[in-house]
Symmetry: C2
Subunit: 346 residues, 2 copies
């Protein structure tokens, strides 16, 4: 298994990437391509004791940052001789020199670069951004979270198929439960998109559990929840903001009196444990589903442990031959699907 | 000021409603119509020491429950001689016998009943459900949270006008900051609805601060956030579920060791304070905006204090002449607005 790692992805790059690379080399010994400004990488690797021969440095002098957006980003992503670490890294996949690409960088940048350089799987109209949401007793794969602000029912069906295959192969879940995000659990609830998507999912052969709301999603009742990229993005960012507000207020309150300060001190392990449970570092990276290549995006705030775990996720996907499984499922599930118009008139 | 109170709204009705009625009668002395099964209300009021003459009991033998949905609900809401406490209470407004209606019952039920019996304000195509979301250092009025799963740009503009007027008159905010919920802060981000709504809000004369995400909403950067009823509902329910998940995990962790149990005990006032900060009881009720009448809906879990505070909100709205202010603003702001098609081609 040949992994490409974007050395310039995370907020504190390249240090976490370098440490993760050395740990991965030790753990598996497989080839790792480390992409970034080669002189900087070389000298920083030396201070870490140097890298084994399985680690290969690949030069890329530019990076895509969190400030690259819109047209500027698209141009950087598309340009044939682009020198960004993402473009150089993804081209290694394109040329068959590597099997998966991992980055902790700008998600939109990874999507654009992967889309323009690798294209999509046959039968997939829109690639989707998936994320792993911490829920009761585990995680839920939520997609799309921003690649497609406006979707058609067929897109949501494709997301469901891809989310299901991903959960089976990489998350090793048996017959993943698929939920459709809605403003009510009952069939018939939803906006037009949801109401038109519902029958497609019902007839898809997937383990469709129906409409789900926040309660079911965060209650851990679904393994995969599909929605359009606008709603998914709003929900994800809203959830993160609520979690931050809650912990901020609690911290403030705990610091407000001597008594509760002592309480907070004693309760510290409980808070640390909460943090770990809500921290997706253990799973490490979310896939770009529908791209014709294995591309994984981790959190910008990833540390070495998170990046190592992202590499592990990528290895699992290679091992399970995720791309072939996705292609096959798309063909099988969608070949005989009626269009949403036919469904509506049925 | 003549308030109608649905005695059969809250989860523990009618006890909280009766207590709140007696407190309101004592505080203000204005007429209160208490609507519900009259014999039950009479006997329970007697055990509380009886009601003063300003409290008038109005008989309604049926109630709308959380189980009333869809067509069944619509029929109950529309039926001319409906005997539900909501219908009987709202008819008092319709007949000019009272000035505002307050319930802690089924929000959809209140909306349907109010819509069928009172209609909408002139110029309002769709009434909206507003809610007060607890945010950093206060509350944000979020609308629509479920009345209209599919919206047009004009609807969102009307929501913004109504949310602004409501915040000025009832929440006493000066020049309320209006945000448009989106999947990115930059202008140009959003789904088609958001992209088409943006220029309408920009030219509305409202204090439009642009697109907002969860961070800005829960960070308290906007006084009013407008969105379609699908996204608003998903966000609201998602936020509630995240808050529950977080506190559940924390409780579990705190109970997991003797040390943290003691910590939790010491920190109890901090947790209680968190609960109060996140508890909208102080504001008490959310308005149905755009209905031709003052209708307020409180949480199902309301206690007497919350219902008293809902009555206070209704009184503020009567005093500020909210309905006239809404009508005037709708006429002024929307009279010369180009349609979204004209905007798009401009």
């Amino acid at each position: 298994m040949r992994i490409v790692l974007d050395a310039m992805g995370s907020d504190h790059c390249p240090q976490p990437e370098l440490e993760a690379t050395l740990q991965a080399a030790q753990e598996w010994g497989d080839p790792i391509f480390l992409v970034g400004p080669i002189d900087q990488l070389k000298s920083q690797l030396e201070t870490l004791g140097g890298a084994p021969p399985s680690v290969q440095l690949v030069d890329a002098q530019e990076t895509i940052t969190m400030n690259d957006k819109g047209l500027k980003l698209a141009l950087k992503a598309k340009k044939r001789d682009s020198k960004t670490s993402m473009a150089v890294g993804i081209d290694l996949l394109k040329n068959g020199e590597a099997d998966a690409f991992v980055t902790a960088g700008n998600t939109g940048g990874a999507l654009a670069t992967a889309f323009f350089r690798l294209g999509t799987l046959k039968g997939v109209e829109r690639p989707a951004l998936a994320t792993l949401v911490p829920v009761k007793d585990g995680f839920c794969t939520l997609l799309d979270i921003g690649a497609n602000p406006d979707c058609k029912p067929e897109h949501l069906l494709q997301f469901a198929v891809m989310g299901s295959v991903y959960s089976q192969t990489v998350r090793a879940l048996n017959d993943p439960r698929i939920g459709l995000l809605s403003n009510g659990e009952e069939a018939g609830k939803g906006n037009q998109l949801v109401r038109e998507t519902f029958p497609l999912l019902e007839n898809s052969g997937l383990n469709f559990i129906g409409n789900v709301e926040g309660k079911e999603l965060f209650g851990g009742e679904a393994d995969v929840v599909v929605t359009d990229g606008f709603t998914g993005n709003v929900l994800m960012k809203g959830s993160e903001a609520v979690a931050k507000l809650l912990t901020d207020i609690l911290k403030e309150e705990l610091m407000a009196s001597a008594r509760s300060k002592i309480g907070a001190l004693l309760a510290k392990p409980a808070f640390a444990s909460l943090k770990i449970k809500l921290d997706p570092d253990e799973i490490g990276a979310a896939p770009l589903l529908g791209i014709n290549g294995l591309v994984f995006v981790g959190h910008g705030r990833s540390n070495a442990r998170a990046i190592l775990s992202a590499i592990r996720t990528a290895r699992n996907a290679i091992e399970a031959d995720l791309l072939t499984a996705l292609s096959a499922a798309i063909q099988v599930r969608l070949a005989n699907m009626p269009s949403s118009e036919e469904q509506a008139s049925a």
